[in-house]
Symmetry: C2
Subunit: 158 residues, 2 copies
Amino acid sequence: MIAAELQPVLKPVAFLLGTWRGEGSGEYPTIQPFRYREEVRFSHTGKAFLVYTQRTEALEDGRPLHSEAGYLRSLGDGRLELVIAQPIGFAEVELGSVSGNRIELQSTQVLRTPTAKPVSAIARKIWLEGERLHYELAMALGGTALTHHLSAALVRVS
Amino acid sequence: MIAAELQPVLKPVAFLLGTWRGEGSGEYPTIQPFRYREEVRFSHTGKAFLVYTQRTEALEDGRPLHSEAGYLRSLGDGRLELVIAQPIGFAEVELGSVSGNRIELQSTQVLRTPTAKPVSAIARKIWLEGERLHYELAMALGGTALTHHLSAALVRVS
């Protein structure tokens, strides 16, 4: 499924391409802090978007924790659109931009199934620093406004 | 990522598990009819949802056409929740049910990025008939109400 040619419109986000692994930590006012192992993959099919998949597992026993999947659309002038589905019952659209090796995105709206947790907003920062891909994710949940939730540092493994 | 144990709540949709391949056809009032080759995969991680991925390609030259990814949540009483991200710039939540080997789902809302086509609703039927997995998808786009768009028949390859 990997096409020979990356669309020129994807060049600003080409630094994301590959499979990345590392560890991260989570916190939120309503939960105990936790750490996790993560694999993130960005690939392309020859079309004007990157395919994004992610999964995390517990450090101690490898049990699956979170996963999500989506698509990063690049408009070519630095503007980005991200669509994501999350198995905890929500789907989101995030808008943002890339500047150098730094991406910032924020949800415009989050759709939830009737049984999903009341997440109402998500913001992401993703940046490459040397050979490490970092991200931070903030989340608004229930009565809590957009608050830092996750951060991780990953290295490219393929 | 495949856990040994399927959660009991997923038994009503366990007939979906596996990788399926086949051909389908698309039509819509605003486009020329077309045919496509497709691979659909439903897997699980030991949690209470199925992971869904799909991709289609052109019959004539194998160029990638559509893809989407999401998660099918089973509530255990026949009710289902589906969350999907589509690289054409939208994310959706669909609700529905499974009865026997037949699933029916309809979107409650579709989130779109600013550059996405104005898709406003999607309905899916998925059913197993003998060894063939069939689906039909209807879509509302622009001024066109929910109208038949896609149908395919797939066989399990693994």
